[in-house]
Symmetry: C2
Subunit: 336 residues, 2 copies
């Protein structure tokens, strides 16, 4: 049987481009004892994976992705053949598998079973009920729960995490302000996602001034998906004892050479700011509980899912690039 | 009556130099209603005040220091004339007064009364029982209390805060590792202050490698007084969910143009590190309680005070410069 994959053709420099990725067809291997064969039916695109496309980028979560091999990601899949008694044919899973039509799961891979009866569309389990929803939830409940009336600033606010985080801030009665990369996206933040105000990251007066204009009382909580100059501009506007949750740092993934900003870290001391990093990967044990809470908000209509969908294995690299070009509105998913 | 002061003669560029300061003699003014006249008998030197010597450096704690005027600092003093019923002649105070022999205290100045009967030498109330002791205490008890056996890394470890913080880390059963600016100071850290290991900030292999060599199991808590490249090197060595307390950032006070390091802030996300800023100025309401705890440790012999003492108003600027040149061992105080 043939298996089509998207391989890492080149190591991206800066933002990933279409020809960093290529379609490859290979014969599917046989599975061995304790392995499973799955058919991937949806691929999740997450900016954080960009980090492991660089040479020597390996860490405790993932090794650096090798050139010429299928790109690692997160997928929804169904077991179609099993030599592992824990998994039955027909089981639906969320797993850290590559961008391909079929994958072989081995013991030790990150694999989570999805419930038999899903209350929501599959793709929700990659977005609002998956890693990105979890990130927004942990950030604004465990790490930095907003008080009523506080100002919550969110970067990459129209992206996967930001589209949920803004809604959670509103659920808690906070004022949600989003930073985004275009005027079109700023409209989306306010008109679709319910943000109270939006900041264009490319505003001619600079991000710090643009944030100040819509946050005259300062920022109490900042959720950062971007890093670099955006983080610097937010720090300038933070209030005393403000809290920063560092979820991601797109600037760091894509910069050629070391990113230099922010240069105002002294303000973390002088304003007694707390900055805390969050990687949802380390909280898999809480996923089931949190998923139920997010499902409740979805059912009550307090939370909505926003998805940017493409179709076909040949479009997985395309979808990944669109995310860095700011073309995604909400969570990016490719249906296979 | 004559009053001698040290004025800010020039705005320092980088590390302060002797001729940034000058001795000036003026006639002492009369005091008005609700004012007090005090004789300063000891001046505290604190690196953090460097920050307000820059133009436009004013913030919620202090305005930028004006050129040609006495330099602001922290002093111990005795009331010698009073037109304020709250203060009696003979009261001993700690106050944010300038580098001068006599000062006039006005309502609204930061002034704290010292107890009538002091159990320790006066200068302790500027060091181990003053702002610097408080900083070390808050950092390692409230913000990042170490667990037994954890590794606590401290920058500017032989300075005012570091000389106390290392001892507190040991009281809690942690391993204390200090970063300092010379081999001579590294010896001081180990032989006098009881640090378990020391890192020379100017080690030829670079700070990150030098830290790694003495912290093979990584760093659990980092107390930073320095910022910049030292912070960057520490982040590289931090363990998952490590904690950073940002007490000061000497690099930021003295850099010409914006400091660029650290460039590895993404590791705050990937290792879920928490970084928290601390300014003891915001915790004056807890000083009496904490002072009693520190006094108990001093009485029990668990904590020692290390002081770098000079004498005479003409040496206050000199003492300040020595601190930035790494010539101080412990807390720098000038007796008048």
């Amino acid at each position: 049987m043939k298996n089509r994959s998207i391989i890492l053709a080149k190591r991206p420099l800066g933002n990933p481009k279409h020809d960093d990725f290529a379609l490859q067809e290979r014969e599917l291997e046989e599975i061995h004892d304790n392995e499973i064969l799955v058919k991937n039916f949806a691929i999740s695109l997450d900016a954080g994976f960009r980090n492991w496309m660089n040479e020597d980028a390996g860490d405790e979560i993932l090794p650096a992705m090798p050139l010429g091999e299928p790109v690692m990601g997160l997928s929804l899949c169904e077991v179609i053949e099993t030599k592992n008694p824990e998994y039955l044919v027909g089981d639906k899973l969320m797993a850290r598998f590559a961008w391909q039509e079929y994958s072989i799961g081995k013991p030790g891979d990150f694999i989570a079973k999805l419930p038999k009866d899903l209350s929501f569309p599959y793709s929700y389990y990659l977005g609002v009920l998956g890693d990105t929803g979890m990130s927004a939830y942990f950030a604004l409940t465990e790490i930095a729960p907003p008080k009523k009336g506080q100002t919550v600033l969110i970067s990459a606010a129209g992206g996967a995490v930001g589209s949920i985080a803004g809604q959670i801030a509103k659920i808690y009665g906070a004022r949600a302000v989003g930073i985004s990369s275009s005027l079109e996206k700023c409209d989306f933040l306010i008109n679709e996602l319910g943000y109270d105000a939006a900041v264009n990251r490319k505003a001619p007066e600079g991000q710090a001034e643009a944030i100040k204009a819509v946050c005259p009382d300062g920022v109490d909580i900042f959720l950062d998906n971007v890093g670099g100059e955006t983080l610097q501009a937010a720090i300038t506007n933070m209030n005393h004892r403000g809290r920063i949750v560092m979820i991601g740092a797109v600037t760091h993934y894509t910069s050629e050479g070391p990113p230099t900003a922010p240069n105002n870290l002294f303000e973390l001391s002088s304003k007694e700011i707390t900055a805390q990093g969050l990687m949802t990967h380390f909280r898999h044990d809480q996923y089931d509980d949190v998923r139920r809470k997010l499902e409740a908000w979805l059912s009550e209509g307090k939370l909505k899912s926003f998805e940017h969908k493409l179709t076909g294995i040949e479009n997985v690299g395309v979808a990944f690039c669109q995310m860095f070009d700011g073309q995604n509105f909400g969570k990016t998913v490719v249906d296979l």
